[in-house]
Structure formats: structure tokens, C-alpha cells
């Protein structure tokens, strides 16, 4: 049988890998792919809790997470295309002036 701790730990590892990728990669597209990896960890955690408590609310929550991921991907890629057309590069450092 699979315990709750397994879901939580695998979910935490996926989320942590996403955080590490988000912080260290410089390609804008790979940065957004890292956020999708984080979403995978969160979905796994939600489904693990749904199974642990034996009701479906965790799965409904994960379904809404899927919608948010789709919205985020659509907007983020539109923004990436806009930034790419301005500077002709996907390097996040090209926009370091926005750091303030």
C-alpha cells in the first residue's frame, strides 16, 4: 500500500526541483517549464491528501489546478513571445533592468 508520506515526499521533491530550476535557469521558456514541474508536485500532493481523507475534494482541487496551469501557460508564453520579439533573445538577464 502507498502511504500519505510517499505522496507528500515525492510531491515535495518535484516542487523543490521546480524551485531550483526556476532560480538557476536563464532561458525564459525553461523557467516557465520549471513552474509546470512545481504544478506536478502540487497535483500529486493534492491527490495524495484526497486518498488519505477518502473524499474527492482534493481531486476537485487538482482539477482547478490544471485549469490554472493552462491559464498560466497561455499567458506566460504570450509574454515570452512579446519579450523575445523586443530583444531577440530568451535570456532572462536581458531584462535585468526590471530588477529596479
Amino acid at each position: 500500500m502507498i502511504g500519505l508520506a510517499d505522496y507528500l515526499i515525492v510531491g515535495a521533491i518535484l516542487f523543490a526541483l521546480g524551485v531550483a530550476g526556476f532560480l538557476c535557469r536563464r532561458n525564459l521558456i525553461v523557467i516557465f517549464l520549471s513552474t509546470e514541474v512545481m504544478f506536478q508536485g502540487v497535483i500529486l500532493t493534492a491527490v495524495g491528501f484526497a486518498r488519505f481523507h477518502r473524499h474527492l475534494e482534493g481531486q476537485a482541487f487538482a482539477l482547478f489546478l490544471l485549469v490554472i496551469a493552462a491559464v498560466e501557460a497561455g499567458l506566460a508564453l504570450g509574454l515570452v513571445m512579446l519579450l523575445y520579439r523586443r530583444r531577440r533573445t530568451l535570456d532572462a538577464e536581458a531584462w535585468s533592468v526590471m530588477r529596479g
Binding site: M1, A12, A16, C24, I29, V47, A73, G74
Partner: protein
């Protein structure tokens, strides 16, 4: 959870962090021997950890461990591969492995939705953008990560912190109903019917808001990508020197 297994888990996190650091693009030739040893050590330790809690090799548990390994390994490649196209393809592998874990835990509808929405729709969009914005050769921002040591330290400290909380919670006796036989058994009508019922009754307002959010995202994406920016590009000093990207515009 015993102390030995939690020490083992922290050791796996440390070795795994070192393995991801060894895999991260640092602008120099990769040391393949060291990387392979670290990766194998981390994977072996992870398998050993997953079997310390329940020593009996249950079939469901073996499947979960295999898919967890595939998911973690391929997501490590997503964040470390120096070619974005390969990152996206490895992400498909992550999604499929996570969907398999969802099937194992009785969430069939969500697994199908994950494969259709992620691997079918979102990833195709990512691949489109990668290929539209592809630069010739391998640009420097793909070959050299920004502060990989600090970033990986942050990530794996976070994972260790969450795992520590999980273990403390387990020690307080939270494992009471972890032996659930699957949600389909309690719903008796099937997973998809159950989710449909709960989403259309209890969460119907949230469902409407989600639909509205999708509409807003569509309008926003169209508004963003319709902007004319060609003029600003041709006026930029980097473009005048021929330093910015390739010579021919993609359209």
C-alpha cells in the same frame, strides 16, 4: 517513521542535490563519471528509503516507486538539460509518470485530464514557442546556469523542510487511514461520476470562475501577442550591430 529512515532521506536529499548540481549546465565540459556515480547513488538511496517504511514489496508500492523514480529523474533533466526542446520532452515523461501515480491512487479522471491537457495541449504550445524563438547553435544562456549551487541548495533545503514536517506529522499518529482502498470504493459510482458531481454542485461557483479565468487568459494572450514591436527592434543598438539574435526575422 524511524530515525534511521529519516537520516537516510536527508542523505538522499544531499546526494541528489549534488547530482543535480553536477548535471546543471555550468559552461564547461561535464564530468560524466562523477555525475553517473552521484545519480546512481541518489536513485539507489531513494529506492532504499521507499522500502524502509513498508519492508514488504507490495506490487502497488513497487509500481509507485518506479513511477516516482521516473518522475523525479526526468524532472531533474527538465531543469538541467541545456537544450530547451529536450527539456520539454523530458517534461512529457514527468507528466506521464505523475499520471501513472494518479491512476495508482484511484484518480483515473484526473490522470486522463493531466495527459490530455498537459502532454497534449500545454506542451505543444511550449514546443511551438521554443521552435519560434529558437536561436542558431547553443546560446550562452542555455549553457551556463545562474548561481546553480545556491538555487539547488534552496530547492533541496525546502524539500528537506517539507519532508521533516511530514515525518513529524507521521510520528503524531496521522497514518490512521493511510490504508485507503481507493476513492472509487467509497464513491461506488466511479471516480469520474464522483468528480463531476462534486464539481457541479459544491464547487459550481469555482467552476464558473475557472471558465472566466480561461476566457480572460485567452483575451490577454491575444492582446499581448498582437502588439507591434518590429520598429523598436530595428532601432535598438544591438540590432544595428547585428549582435541580437539571428539576422532574418522569423515571420
Amino acid at each position: 517513521m524511524t530515525t534511521a529512515s529519516s537520516v537516510l532521506l536527508y542523505a538522499v536529499f544531499a546526494v541528489g542535490g549534488a547530482a543535480v548540481y553536477a548535471m546543471a549546465p555550468k559552461g564547461e565540459a561535464p564530468r560524466r563519471g562523477l555525475t553517473t556515480i552521484l545519480v546512481l547513488a541518489a536513485l539507489g538511496g531513494f529506492i532504499a528509503f521507499l522500502f524502509t517504511q513498508f519492508p514488504v514489496a507490495h506490487a502497488e508500492r513497487v509500481c509507485f516507486a518506479v513511477f516516482a523514480l521516473i518522475a523525479v529523474g526526468s524532472s531533474a533533466r527538465v531543469i538541467t538539460h541545456s537544450k530547451p526542446v529536450y527539456s520539454a520532452i523530458y517534461f512529457v515523461l514527468t507528466v506521464v509518470a505523475v499520471a501513472a501515480m494518479l491512476v495508482l491512487s484511484g484518480a483515473e479522471f484526473l490522470a486522463a485530464a493531466l495527459v490530455i491537457a498537459y502532454a497534449g495541449a500545454i506542451l505543444v504550445t511550449y514546443l511551438f514557442v521554443i521552435m519560434l524563438a529558437q536561436q542558431p547553435g547553443s546560446p550562452v544562456y542555455d549553457r551556463r546556469a545562474r548561481e546553480p549551487l545556491l538555487a539547488i541548495l534552496t530547492g533541496f533545503m525546502l524539500a528537506a523542510l517539507i519532508s521533516h514536517r511530514v515525518m513529524v506529522g507521521e510520528g503524531a499518529g496521522n497514518t490512521a487511514n493511510s490504508g485507503a482502498t481507493g476513492i472509487t470504493a467509497s464513491a461506488s459510482l466511479g471516480n469520474t461520476v464522483g468528480i463531476g458531481a462534486i464539481v457541479m454542485t459544491q464547487y459550481v461557483v469555482a467552476l464558473e470562475i475557472a471558465g472566466l479565468l480561461l476566457l480572460m487568459s485567452m483575451v490577454g494572450a491575444i492582446a499581448l501577442s498582437r502588439k507591434k514591436v518590429e520598429k523598436e527592434y530595428h532601432e535598438s543598438p544591438a540590432a544595428a550591430l547585428g549582435l541580437a539574435g539571428r539576422e532574418a526575422p522569423p515571420f
